[in-house]
């Protein structure tokens, strides 16, 4: 039986009644930010639903969580409250439930056309961590930078490698990216120079939004890790490869990444993704006990990146990848992160790292797709790219295909503006 809403949802819409992703929006410029869920081409205002007393189950009935301007308070409540909210919203939006369907005044107050609202970052992100969980990406980067012998560092198969990213420059989909300037080392023994990056790249990633988090000094058990993850967004970890290559030894990426990281506005919950769970790749060597899962799972989320140069009517698809290619799972990433006692807070963002698949057509960044600029990529209309050019728009999309419906993420976009003079 397919769930059906009284709101008309096209079968190709990412925002089916089975999805119900969470975001933050303003109905109009002068109005307050509030929490909503996407349904078809509409946004349901949860502050209006809560204000009408329709969250009347035990965990949420006295909660202030839907009267906030970010999801953080709701994230902190944890899975039982998330399930209760999902059940309530799914019921209220279903075709055979009259409460909202037949109340014109409440519909008017709570349903907004998505193309009329302003979307905002869904959560206040205290810390942002980026993992490195695709084996194909690790192997390709290692081969490009260090050669084909032992391209993957020896520690990589033992732990989910990660670095701390910059939280201040996390941006909502649609925000323009100014080409960064920085130092890089041209050739041989010439001195470094400072100027606009010549190797600006995207990275196709997804990112987990942390729910309740953990106390400092209290590592999370692998069997409980999934309950600390609220959901996922699409992420573009913009990267300046020339700046990165020159700066990253010995302390890792810094200015090569910190000029901007874009996420999609709608957080798709793990509940909505559960029907698309699939086995994660076999891990060999077997991980240490603290990282060993009873059952290791990924999600079958089809991912696609388009580049749309200025003047082109349509973007050119440059890669098709899938979340299921990740080697380290979300619970393993989270458990490793807390294994030293490090505390996660509600709203923290855990990027997966670039998601590259096994084929030439499933690589997650231009560094890999053009082999560091050596094999330029052909787009439509005769355009060719080694790295991103000014005015290029990068459009990431992600979607799970259900039986007659989709559970999708919408898009995560950004356009490159020229560097400062």
């Amino acid at each position: 039986m397919t769930l059906k809403s009284f709101i008309d949802v096209h079968p190709d819409s990412h925002f089916s009644l089975q999805n119900l992703p969470y975001g933050v929006f303003k109905p109009g410029k002068e109005q307050k930010a509030r929490i909503g869920v996407a349904i078809g081409e509409y946004v349901l205002d949860l502050s209006a639903i809560a204000g009408a007393g329709l969250f009347n189950e035990p965990l949420l009935k006295d909660s202030e969580c839907f009267f906030q301007n970010s999801l953080n308070m709701f994230l902190a409540l944890g899975r039982p409250a998330w399930k209760e909210a999902r059940a309530t919203i799914q019921r209220l939006l279903s075709a055979d439930e009259p409460t909202l369907r037949d109340n014109a005044s409440l519909r008017e107050r709570s349903l907004f056309s998505m193309d009329q609202v302003e979307l905002l970052l869904p959560a206040a992100i205290g810390d942002y961590t980026d993992f490195f969980s695709s084996m194909h990406h690790a192997k390709n980067c290692g081969t490009i930078f260090r050669g084909p012998e032992n391209p993957i560092p020896v520690n990589w198969f033992h732990l989910p490698i990660a670095y701390h990213g910059r939280a201040s420059s996390i941006l909502l989909s649609g925000t323009d990216i100014i080409r960064p300037r920085g130092q890089s080392f041209p050739v041989g023994n010439s001195p470094p120079y400072f100027g606009p990056s010549l190797k600006l790249d995207f990275e196709l990633e997804m990112a987990a939004i942390v729910g309740p988090g953990n106390e400092l000094g209290k590592p999370v058990d692998i069997d409980k890790a999934e309950d600390l993850i609220f959901g996922l967004v699409l992420m573009n970890d913009w990267s300046a490869r020339d700046i990165q290559a020159w700066e990253y030894q010995p302390l890792g990426p810094f200015l090569g990444k910190s000029f901007g990281t874009t996420i999609s506005p709608w957080i798709v919950t793990l509940e909505a993704l559960e029907p698309f769970a699939c086995d994660a790749p076999k891990q060999e060597p077997h991980p240490l006990p603290y990282l060993t899962e009873k059952k290791s799972k990924n999600y079958d989320i089809a991912l696609e990146v388009q580049i749309k140069p200025t003047g082109h009517k349509e973007g050119s698809v440059v890669t098709k990848s899938n979340f299921k290619y990740l080697y380290w799972t979300l619970p393993q990433q989270l458990v490793h992160h807390t294994s030293n006692g490090c505390n996660l807070r509600p709203g923290d963002l855990l990027g997966t790292g670039t998601i590259s698949g096994p084929d030439r057509e499933s690589l997650g960044c231009l560094l890999e797709l053009t082999w560091n600029g050596q094999k330029p990529l052909s787009l439509q209309n005769g355009a060719v790219r080694k790295f991103l050019e000014d005015e290029d728009e990068v459009i990431i999309s992600g979607c799970c295909q259900g039986n007659g419906y989709k559970v999708g993420f919408g898009t995560c976009t950004g356009r490159i503006l020229p560097a400062l003079l």
Copy 2:
């Protein structure tokens, strides 16, 4: 002429009328957090001073900044407001000004004995960055990890290397540190194991607190950088060397650092430090134009670290260093950080990196002091240390010596608790 307060300030006190460092405190457990400045053995409550209408100069007279529970709003106001506040507070506390001196009721409401109050983190820290600005530290670490040929990476002399740190685990002085557990690689080809760190270390650092910050996409000019820095604190960047050594390639330090970073409670302003400014070391090769300062300066801040094992009445001094040994200056660090357009926000923390001096007695961490455990260090009472042991307390202090007064930071302390079972 020496400034004198009507409050008795011992000449050895770090908190003279020339200092006036800012912090956040609660007078009692049940009371609201508020902003204060330290004066001798007292804390002056700036919400009481503001409430009495005594910030009556143009920039602060209508401001809400002293009615907050963190310094962030005051930090955002910038140097002219900071100077105005300093002048007002210095005048109100001076011996020949009757306003506060002769008002018993206001004194009662605004002055609290420092040993009666609870100190809190002075600012909400959005992002924490740790630099690597001591050449002696870079050289020693490089020699220990990579050998004596070219110990300093080739990029080090061209840019102030840094990495993003973990903001969630920044702790106030006095907070206990649980020995972290993690993966490390024992010897040869044996597999990694998971357990308590065997190489727990401190790092003697200082950190800048960012004032107004900059917009995303707007790099800061080197001539204007100093005006974006409010002041400095002491910092202990606790480090698990075994975890760090195994994880840090290729993305830098992560769990080896993120279990805790301790800062001192009082932010000493650049105004208070100005009398102790001194020339920074000559930089060769000459930095690129965007990093070239008209005048490169450091501050003469004497730094000391003691280790106090459990049962010892007194700590043993293990190093004496100085802020003036830093190669890259604070403005250079800040300008480099924003050179790609990265935005800094009020309250961001910029650690200097471990401050090691040129001598055996001025090294800023046990990794260097014991040469990675090869040359154990003798403490008082026959105690010996390769790395930190459980129950050890580490006490960092820092102070500038004026003519008959001190401008000091107090201490930054933390005690090691045993690892979880």
